[in-house]
């Protein structure tokens, strides 16, 4: 019996030692407080966090979320204080409208001047008082031309000849967005008849689908189990490495341009450190390293010329201005429309 107690106690001591080592190893010589960062999962080159800690002496508590809505509910619930959050466009708008964001002191974020002109003053933050873009990208169709032929329109996702090989977004905003764009409407419409038409279209599409998916899209398209589906441009590049047959197109009807932006929520305890962090991540060297790691496009204008990727990847990451002009960014929808989305989605999935 004594032996077991001994073993357990020594195991505890060992674990204690290990954790002690871990944290003391991380601590920087001159501690300048900390910064609590809340970002999407798998959405940063973690080397940058270590570098930031070494360069500034600020300790980073890094946490991750898996959807804008999840992040929103955590902020709303209270009892927590984050210093930097990185929500997407429409969620930034919602947080602004609910007075949940702290205005940024741009004099402390000098690298903001490096942000490309077309990434400033976007619809979600028209006066650019609350946010600094982190990454952006487009949604397009990923397809295997050998199976479904050349694709230049959303119509391919609704075409009965591709039946059984089509994948669709497993979230209401992106799925409805595609249907609305195909019909020639704005993705931010609140017009009930337009929304109804989009819903009818999705209802007709459902029997043709192999499934509604999010990250399973990687396996299904890489292995050839499915042949066509919409997803993010940056993630297409990952799939392309595994299955070079795959192609990407932004449909001629236009698409969604998403921006994930760094913001400081109300009640942040370390606002200065948060601004230091935002400034650091916006610098050209860091933006480039991050963009190479994630595969999404950096809003820093210098990165485009310096980034070390092949021409093909670059053409996907930086679409022509003419193509971008047709893309729309999501805005925050009024509650009535959000309720409509929820209702439609429940009906479609059941």
């Amino acid at each position: 019996m004594k032996k077991t107690i001994c073993i357990i106690l020594s195991a505890v001591v060992l674990v204690g030692l290990f954790s002690g080592c871990g944290s003391s190893g991380k601590e920087t010589p001159k501690s300048k407080g900390e910064v609590n960062v809340y970002n999407w999962g798998e959405y940063i080159d973690t080397d940058l966090i270590t570098q930031f800690e070494n360069d500034t002496g600020i300790k980073v508590n890094y946490k991750t979320f898996e959807s804008n809505e999840q992040m929103y509910s955590v902020l709303k619930q209270g009892g927590v204080s984050y210093d930097v959050i990185i929500p997407s466009d429409y969620m930034v708008a919602r947080l602004i409208s609910e007075n949940m964001l702290e205005p940024l002191d741009y004099s402390k974020i000098s690298n903001y001047s490096l942000i490309a002109g077309n990434m400033k003053n976007l619809v979600y933050d028209p006066d650019n008082k609350y946010s600094v873009p982190y990454m952006w990208g487009t949604v397009g169709i990923i397809y295997d031309p050998k199976v479904v032929g050349e694709v230049d329109s959303w119509s391919a996702l609704f075409d009965p000849k591709n039946s059984g090989k089509i994948l669709m977004f497993d979230n209401s905003r992106d799925a409805m967005g595609i249907a609305l764009k195909y019909l020639g409407f704005s993705t931010n419409t609140t017009d009930e008849s337009q929304l109804n038409q989009a819903y009818e279209l999705l209802k007709k599409q459902k029997p043709l689908l192999q499934g509604y998916v999010m990250d399973q899209v990687f396996d299904k398209l890489e292995s050839g189990e499915a042949a066509i589906g919409p997803y993010y441009a940056g993630d297409f590049l990952t799939m392309h490495q595994e299955n070079p047959n795959l192609e990407f197109c932004i449909p001629k009807e236009g698409s969604n341009l998403f921006v994930d932006a760094m913001c400081i929520p109300k009640g942040a305890q370390n606002k200065d450190n948060a601004e230091t962090f935002i400034n650091y991540m916006t610098a050209t060297e860091q933006s480039m390293k991050n963009s190479e790691f994630i595969g999404y496009t950096s809003p820093n204008s210098a990165v485009k010329n310096e980034i070390d990727v092949d021409d093909y990847s670059k053409s996907i990451m930086y679409p022509d201005d003419a193509v971008l002009a047709k893309c729309e960014t999501y805005t925050n929808l009024p509650q009535a429309t959000l309720d409509y989305y929820d209702a439609v989605w429940v009906k479609l999935k059941s």
């Binding site: 505890v12 290990f18 999407w40 798998e42 209270g78 927590v80 990687f218």
Partner: protein, 275 residues
């Protein structure tokens, strides 16, 4: 008769395949050389290497282990004394209290999580603290305690009631009786409770999710957040390691029980021999 027998065999085999096939797939793909989860493209240890250099995964693993160890030890301590208390109660009181103890075990995690979170948030507003490692630890201790009590109680029932008095007759103080007589007798129950509590803590997602706050993140929370983008095979690697750890723990528990049974049997045989 014989036919029925092979049917049973097939059924057993199917059950085990159903239970373990996913884990086998997970382990196999932790050695896959590309990120694909469906195409095998070669053997590699790359994901294990990346795993140990991924700061986020490692720091959340550290949080998970620290919380689990501290919570299961504290719960073992509190749970053991609670069980001894229950044991010495009148039955009128013991039964309802044990029933209340069982409720958190069968209760949905989400309810425990939300209610603890609400409690911590409101208490934090009054007393000026935020959700963090402390609240996470308290939450884990809270849901670990019932498991310890549940595994210690049976050992107490097996105890000879006279032992307590015999020890005191022979000059033990109250504390010595507990420490030198009762605790060693019920130790197997405590250890089992400790191990169950530990695995429950490592396993927990829902309650941690609601109580961890902004500065700490457990491993299960890190894995969950990866689901928008493709889950990296690092996760397969760490799950494989966790599975192996739990398997080893389980083997230890079972081997210990086996040994104890054998020892008791020998003791009984010897006693019978002397009669």
């Amino acid at each position: 008769m014989k036919k029925k027998y092979t049917g049973g065999k097939i059924f057993t085999a199917l059950t085990y395949i159903f239970l373990y096939a996913p884990i086998v797939v997970l382990i196999v793909f932790s050695f896959n050389s590309t990120k694909s989860r469906s195409v095998w493209s070669g053997f590699t240890f790359e994901w294990y290497r990346q795993l140990f250099t991924d700061d986020l995964v490692m720091s959340s693993l550290q949080t998970t282990l620290l919380v689990s160890v501290l919570a299961s030890l504290t719960a073992a301590l509190i749970g053991t004394f609670a069980a001894i208390g229950f044991y010495n109660m009148k039955k009128k009181w013991r039964s309802p209290l044990l029933l209340i103890n069982n409720i958190p075990v069968v209760n949905a995690d989400i309810i425990t999580g939300v209610s603890l979170s609400l409690l911590f948030v409101s208490a934090g507003l009054i007393m000026g603290f935020e959700l963090g490692f402390g609240t996470l630890l308290i939450a884990h201790i809270t849901f670990d305690i019932p498991y310890v009590i549940l595994s210690v109680m049976p050992k107490l029932y097996q105890l000879d009631r006279n032992l307590f008095e015999a020890a005191q007759d022979l000059g033990c103080t109250w504390f010595q009786t507990i420490y030198r007589v009762i605790i060693p007798e019920i130790m197997p129950g405590i250890i089992n409770g400790l191990l169950i509590a530990f695995t429950m803590s490592v396993d927990d997602f829902v309650i941690s999710y609601f109580t961890a706050g902004s500065s700490v993140q457990t491993l299960s929370m890190t894995i969950y957040a990866m689901t928008r983008r493709r889950i990296s095979p690092e996760i397969n690697a760490i799950s494989t390691l966790l599975f192996a750890t739990v398997l080893i723990l389980l083997l230890i528990v079972n081997l210990r029980e086996e040994r104890q049974h054998k020892a008791e049997k020998i003791k009984e045989d010897l006693l019978e021999g002397t009669v």
